[in-house]
Symmetry: C2
Subunit: 256 residues, 2 copies
């Protein structure tokens, strides 16, 4: 029986997991899903995500794929898979995909949101917001700084060393980077072609410093142009970060 | 040194606690706060909440009070108290109160919200919504049924036996009971003079049955008038329920 590729959508609360990528000792999202697949298929099946997320980072919609022999509808595979997942990991959709689809290599962009709370977030939001105490953020200045990062740039200055020596292409395009306030909640939203390691959290940390007045908006442009990691700002904590959406090219209806 | 009464506001994620009220073996919200007060004052100090909440029920804003000898500003007591609280319990405000203030007996009303999610709630909402799978709810019918519960009534039909034999007055007034949809989220909001044990969850469960068509809106009025607990409907699960606000009479500026 031939293998079929399955495309899956899930959300997760990063608090309870050691990030996406499988590791010795387990406890990651990939481990949880592959453990479940092992129980269903009786063998190791590897899953491929659109990208890894760090420990503590959440996803509203992560996408992954895997190949398996399954003679029933995708929906019944979804029910089998979702029923045994640990708390904090929710499978929302499983569909059959073309063999040419790859969760990571077919992705053309991603949307992330970074959540800040002025004051102490109430208990049910505390796991999903960075609570910044008494500071009030200047949203206008933050947006002025954000505009300097829009477009295609070498984002080395907003990246961290992942270790392992693998070099990512530092040239990425941000189509959107905006800061909005709703009451005490401040939401930084970005859509881009791709992101370097810790890039969104480093951008959020730098924009936060602009919001408090520690950095001037123009300095963000200077930091970007320096193309080297600055110690002028810190990455914002993982708990405020959500992978919200992975974009794939819409197949044109007439091309195979 | 005379004792001072302190009025406190907190929020909590009910998932991690065995309800509000202190019990043998601990694990409740009251235990967590009293443990912390014991560390600060070196003696048992009893706290009084606006009312207890059941295991799994959340609070956006619960109010409690206690009496203690404290010669410093209320703000420093707040900092001392909040720093050692367990995860899931957030203290937001501590103010000095008049000795005549009582968190429970001075309360003149409360607002609760009950959250339903059509489908599976994404991971970061799963602890705070009742996910009801494939059902689509008829909001108009639910509001029609809700209108029958507005005003002053004997709510025995929407109450459960708490045990312990204490009898609550079953006559309560609901000033507001509305159902609103936002995407897949359905929010039931109620403001009332008071609530019997499990009353909000029983109302939410009955309105849910109206939303799915299991009960007709008129049956809600009939159930209310029967003044006896019906087995026609179930209480909705604790996880969707939030205590949102406790109302106290505004002291008139000219009195005493």
């Amino acid at each position: 029986m031939p293998e079929q590729r399955f495309k899956c959508f899930c959300s997760y609360d990063g608090t309870a997991f050691k990030g996406w990528q499988s590791q010795l000792g387990g406890g990651t999202l990939q481990d949880a899903i592959e453990d479940r697949l092992f129980k269903i298929f009786g063998k190791k099946i590897r899953v491929h995500a659109s990208g890894r997320t760090d420990a503590g980072v959440h996803a509203l919609e992560q996408v992954f794929h895997f190949d398996a022999e399954w003679r029933h509808p995708a929906r019944s595979l979804m029910l089998a898979l979702k029923s045994g997942l640990p708390e904090g990991l929710v499978l929302s959709r499983v569909v059959k995909a073309d063999g040419g689809f790859h969760a990571r290599y077919s992705a053309v962009g991603k949307r992330y949101a970074y959540n800040i709370f002025e004051g102490d977030a109430p208990a049910h939001l505390a796991r999903y917001f960075w609570s910044v105490g008494d500071r009030r953020l200047d949203i206008e200045k933050m947006n002025e700084a954000a505009s300097k990062l829009l477009g295609e740039h070498d984002f080395t200055a907003f990246s961290a060393n992942r270790g392992g020596g693998s070099k990512d292409n530092p040239v990425k395009t941000l189509y959107k980077l905006s800061v909005r306030r709703r009451g005490k909640k401040v939401r930084i939203e970005t859509e881009g072609s791709g992101y370097m390691y810790k890039m969104v959290r480093l951008i959020a940390g730098a924009l936060f410093d602009v919001g408090t007045g520690r950095l001037a908006p123009e300095e963000i442009g200077e930091i970007l142009e320096s193309k080297s990691r600055s110690n002028k700002f810190q990455a914002a904590p993982a708990k405020g970060l959500f992978l919200e959406r992975v974009f794939y090219k819409r197949p044109s209806p007439r091309s195979k």
